[in-house]
Symmetry: C2
Subunit: 138 residues, 2 copies
DNA sequence: CACTAAATGTAATGTTATTACATAATATAT
DNA sequence: ATATATTATGTAATAACATTACATTTAGTG
């Protein structure tokens, strides 16, 4: 949270109470959370909240890199343990939906180089990798 | 198409006229196509088609590995130029939504090894990488 | 032919995300 | 301080994507 405040300060971005609430809700989870699930939780704090309320706050947080969108799950997770503008991996278990985020320069470099050969410039944010976690095997 | 027929033959899977229609529609595009866009096209061939018609055919094709789902775009594309059960990359331009699929053993190995260190076993299907294509830069 | 399993038809509904416009709060300039 | 512009939030409706449930048809099997 402190880091988020500093980041917003630096960037001249307004971390309003509403945006802070959404961010804090995400921080409470150790897994990606759907926007409507988040909305349910937010409503207990802010009865007026509507879908667009959540999506707007998420957009703000996504732009800052404080939050990631996990396309494979249509869900959002607070970024942890990395610098903003990082390019790592997020491993997603097909079975239990658990995710792990990790930084990996080697993977990042390999991908970036392959993409560059085709004139393609990779963006930021982690790459999603689907598979099966240790727990969900035998 | 010929390859698809052989694959179905081998697997004892029924490539019905409907499923073939959906697959052929996908083959006509060189980009991922949304299910409802596909539905519109399918309707000109089969007026009775409904959303579930398309999704069922897509599930069939996905299981065989003939088609990929692109999570970043909520869309589907026919797999080209690779073996089934391959693990490559699909580069997706954030700006124009164009995609390129490529095989890359190095990237695949690097990812798989990193994931394995955490007891995570990567699945099949290409990894999605977002970025900017050559055309969309300057 | 009778039976079964697989595929498709049909309708409704669930889930995720966006658009449009009104109101309120905040910053900037005079 | 007041007027103005900008940014943020409220409110309602709708769009876009996907699934469920059950009826009917078609294709395979004995
Ligand atoms: Zn992160
Ligand atoms: Zn798992
Ligand atoms: Zn492929
Ligand atoms: Zn492009």
């Amino acid at each position: 949270m402190r880091q988020a405040e500093e980041l917003c300060e630096d960037q001249g971005a307004a971390l309003t109470p509403l945006r802070r609430d959404v961010y804090e809700l995400l921080l409470r989870h150790d897994r990606p959370v759907g926007a409507y699930e988040l909305l349910d939780e937010l409503k207990s704090l802010r009865p007026k909240a509507a879908p667009v309320t959540v999506y707007r706050a998420l957009d703000f947080l996504l732009d800052l890199g404080l939050v990631h969108r996990v396309n494979a799950l249509n869900a959002f997770s607070a970024c942890r343990g990395h610098e903003t503008d990082h390019r790592g991996l997020v491993l997603i278990c097909r079975s239990c939906k658990a995710t792990v985020e990790l930084e990996d320069r080697k993977v990042d470099n390999t991908i970036r180089r392959s993409a560059a050969e085709l004139g393609f410039e990779t963006g930021d944010g982690p790459v999603e990798v689907l598979g099966t976690c240790a727990g969900c095997r035998g």
